[in-house]
Symmetry: C2
Subunit: 123 residues, 2 copies
Amino acid sequence: MTLPHPTADQITLSNVLAALGDSTRLAIVGYLARREGRPTMCLNFTDFGSKTNISYHLAKLREAGITRTEVSGTSRLITLRRDDLDIRFPGLLDSIVAAAVDLPMVKKIEDAEEEALAQGEAR
Amino acid sequence: MTLPHPTADQITLSNVLAALGDSTRLAIVGYLARREGRPTMCLNFTDFGSKTNISYHLAKLREAGITRTEVSGTSRLITLRRDDLDIRFPGLLDSIVAAAVDLPMVKKIEDAEEEALAQGEAR
DNA sequence: CCGCTTGTTCAATAGATATTGAACTATTGA
DNA sequence: TCAATAGTTCAATATCTATTGAACAAGCGG
């Protein structure tokens, strides 16, 4: 089962920039970049907003060609489409991610995660 | 006489991307990049929309820190803030401009210009 | 099979954004 | 001083976008 994604050549600069022009989605991308390697699903973003809202933003990112969403059981695995974006717009994602990883919003939820983890261990 | 511009460190990634997420403004930036060196004023953009509309979009670009607007008599000279943007977000503008210069909208008005020029010469 | 987890879809709403024409400001050139 | 030029401001509007809660779908574990 696969969700609809644009092919590499269907990705437009306008759509990419419009998608990233929202602070929530920019934070999602920054967070995804930090977690690269680790599987990331919708639940990981709940600190960014309600379940419904995250679903909405992730759909926007997917439709713009910024993320890839793979269905895995009841969850979805979200990854950045680094390779495709780099072919279409060389250097673009790198420069955006470089700044996005340091966004206050991203740091905030990383801190929240560490705290939750620490508490889980303490229990 | 100077218009209000954000300082380099007041420029945020979110604002820049939101400003460039509009196709008209993206075309303006692409066009500005093509004209780099030559002075460019609001009148040059009239093919992108009404006078009022261009004024609106140029204000957005200026407020986001993407362009600098200098008053010169009754006109304003618009330039890209390449240096400032490159310090804040290295590589970002370059990668965007590289794609934006080839936008259909940009090509269209360059063609229109050449035609107008040819006609002016013929007369 | 039942309930829990994970997400999506839908309808409603509030807020932001783009676009327009009319009126206005300010500078320049005759 | 007058008229033309170059842009802005304003109010109105139409459209789009983000956000929410309720209802739904689908896989997983007991």
